[in-house]
Symmetry: C2
Subunit: 451 residues, 2 copies
């Protein structure tokens, strides 16, 4: 049933949609909600609304969850709070329901919740909404299957049958004691292997990895990755089982994080996609460009301060872009390695001094190689020894400085709980540009006096 | 049982290890293989070897899979091909086994496989090794649970009990026809809900998403993400079920891809981590720096060509870093948006011309804003109208050019099956630097003649 959205398919569908084709709703009923969402993301809003109206209630709710946020927002605006509660929320799992409600304007949230008939669901959603963004609590769903440690396999299966009606997918069965404290996990496989009348006592695994609800989403992702988990139980401070996180939600989180880091490194300050409006794209890019502009102006001031030198030795101007660019490049490289290490907690255990020392040796090696190359080039193509020495020596110093600075800044940002990925953005590049120019002109001044 | 590796823990462990503490192997037996791997990744090789020797065979194999590649390689070097086959491979699932063998030197691969006693496993591994890297076939495991469409629930459970012994985790039960063709998936939950004597005919889901073994890993990741799948069945060209991919392997792939893109955008040309050797880190960073150096030299040539202008109007030199940096920044921003869109297949359906037009409007907006700002600045702080006009007008042109170039290049690279992320690396930045300088000096020359 693999579905592929093509331009032809889309055009044909829009024609049918606008012609109010009566077979369309039967056709749509056969599609996966994620496919319908993919189609709707490509339609203009009016067509999307008409299509959405053709879906039955349960399917419509599933589609809504999969849509891009801006379309979902517009569709929900057209519904009353009562309609949202009764036709959307009640068809969703607690985690998806909470996500949908979290996006609503503040004044509508309580209203929608008050219209939810199922009191348990309303309570679950209220609980989930209380957790901070990007915590285990915010990622988890309340629906799960749990059994008690002294039950027989038969009783487990019977209870699971009841619970399974509320749960979409069964990946794990949690084992608790009488007080709902999590004490183990029962692999579905073991249920098949143990005789029905036997207690599960010997069949469940006591080594269960769990997280508390306030654990960072990043830590959740790291643990699930490390232990190759598909589902992770969440407990409260009393170790009572309160929910479970499935890997698909964590994958979304991992992708979002990677995208954020990547965008930050590329100088984009808001989460945008190429399909976003020109206005949004412009707004996401302007802040970093403003920093770049400010950097450029400061750079101009630095060079202006040394205007005399340029008058005397105009060839010094030739290598301004080289010095500025190399400082930026080295800075971004060293920051990126640290940012990545922080994100995956793979930085190792040595302290900041050892890291700086390592970066120093790397920078020294790279710097020496590059300085020798540019020295050779200048010896051949320039007749000024002063210039050759200035460019090479400055380049070496700039590379070492930029490497150390690029290592130091993300570590410090991280220490003060600021996203270290900021360091890979144009901020560091710009700083390194300016400091690089300063180093260049100071050394240049000295060289021309000395040689 | 949440484990956290601290410096104190590690020091204490190393002491016990070197003192040949006899309790250590009991302690280790209680740890999760991933935790032991995490410990070993921090140890030096001699300690790691001693620790590895304390593990029992099954645990040792699991640990081996979780280790970093360089340590695994060293441990395997010390084993004979027969030992690898009998003590390692036979304890592993087909996908992990194939991964381990794939890393061995070419001459050992066949040897190890020939020592595997279980003929079925040997065949499975040979099959898996034949698939190209980063395809569904390379990601999948052969172990899975499948039932036939006309079986009763009871028969399914009985057969599954047999098959489950070979499968680590049961996430889905696949339904095939008599010819092993995949026709559906039976959620574990439905097995619990349907009476034992009834056929599964009405209980399985016919809408099963599957991939062929030669499908790109990127497409696998996209499908699993889109449909929120935890496990995805793999079929051959005849639609016969040949394996299944679990999400944890795909998460690894997603992380690797994101890391690669991020490193490429940061100018790092090999997959490195901060814990790698100075030599490796230097080697991973030098290539991009060489491109930067070359760009700097070309930039110097461009400026050298306009040396006369700098003699006449040295203040033109002031804004060289600004023009160069802004071209680079805008180019990286626009490339990043395209690269990201290509990676997630979210670019939308409009053609290249429409994309360039959109980028043009974004660049025009940003460019106009920034040009006006720098014009204002120069009006106040510089007494040269020519300079003010030159800088502002060049900046506008450079921003528009860099935006279009940054959009165009990754699209073209992708068309020719080259990784578009290359475009966000220093290559584009460097190109934009040079072209920016050219534009600046050409416009500068014109302005000083005109005004």
């Amino acid at each position: 049933m693999n579905f592929e959205l093509t331009k032809t398919y889309l055009d044909e569908l829009v024609t049918a949609l606008r012609a109010r084709d009566s077979h369309l709703s039967t056709r749509l009923a056969k599609l996966h909600p994620a496919d319908i969402a993919e189609i709707m993301d490509e339609l203009d809003m009016d067509d999307a609304r008409v299509l959405y109206g053709l879906l039955d209630e349960a399917q419509a709710s599933e589609v809504l969850v999969e849509l891009e946020e801006d379309i979902r927002e517009k569709l929900l605006e057209a519904l009353s709070s009562r309609q949202i509660a009764e036709t959307v929320i009640e068809n969703l799992d607690s985690d998806d329901a909470a996500d949908v409600i979290a996006e609503l304007p503040a004044e509508r949230k309580g209203e929608v919740i008050s219209y939810i008939e199922d009191q348990q669901q309303a309570q679950d959603i209220t609980d989930l909404l209380a957790y901070g963004e990007d915590t285990a609590g915010a990622l988890m769903a309340k629906e799960l299957i749990s059994v008690e440690q002294d039950w027989t396999v038969l009783r487990c299966v019977r209870e699971m049958r009841k619970q399974a009606e509320q749960v979409d997918q069964v990946y794990a069965v949690y084992v608790t004691d009488k007080n709902k404290k999590l004490i183990g996990v029962l692999p579905v496989k073991n249920l098949l292997l143990v005789p029905a009348r036997q207690s599960i006592e010997g069949a469940y695994d006591r080594d269960v990895v769990s997280v508390e609800a306030n654990t960072d989403a990043e830590e959740v992702a790291r643990l699930m990755d490390k232990y190759n988990l598909v589902v992770l139980p969440v407990v409260n401070a009393n170790k009572e089982l309160v929910g479970r996180i499935t890997i698909d939600d964590v994958v979304d989180f991992i992708r979002e994080e990677a995208k954020e880091d990547y965008q930050m490194a590329s100088g984009i300050s808001e989460d945008v996609e190429s399909s976003d409006s020109v206005w949004l794209l412009t707004r996401a890019r302007l802040p970093w460009l403003l920093i770049g502009l400010l950097g450029g102006i400061l750079g101009a001031r630095v060079i202006g301060f040394y205007e005399e030198d340029i008058h005397l030795y105009p060839e010094m101007a030739f290598f301004i872009p080289l010095i500025a660019a190399m400082g930026g490049n080295v800075g971004v490289q060293s920051s990126a390695i640290i940012v990545q290490g922080l994100a995956t907690k793979s930085l190792g255990m040595e302290g900041i001094v050892k890291k700086l020392w390592k970066e120093f040796t790397v920078a020294l090696l790279n710097g020496t190689a590059l300085s020798l190359l540019i020295f050779g080039y200048n010896l051949i193509f320039s007749d000024s020894l002063s210039l050759s020495v200035t460019v090479s020596f400055s380049l070496l110093i700039v590379i070492i400085f930029a490497g150390l600075f690029g290592t130091f800044v993300p570590l410090v940002l991280d220490k003060y709980k600021i996203d270290p990925a900021l360091a890979t953005g144009p901020f560091i590049t710009t700083m390194n540009d300016i400091i690089g120019l300063l180093i260049y002109f100071i050394i240049g001044g000295l060289m021309y006096e000395l040689l």
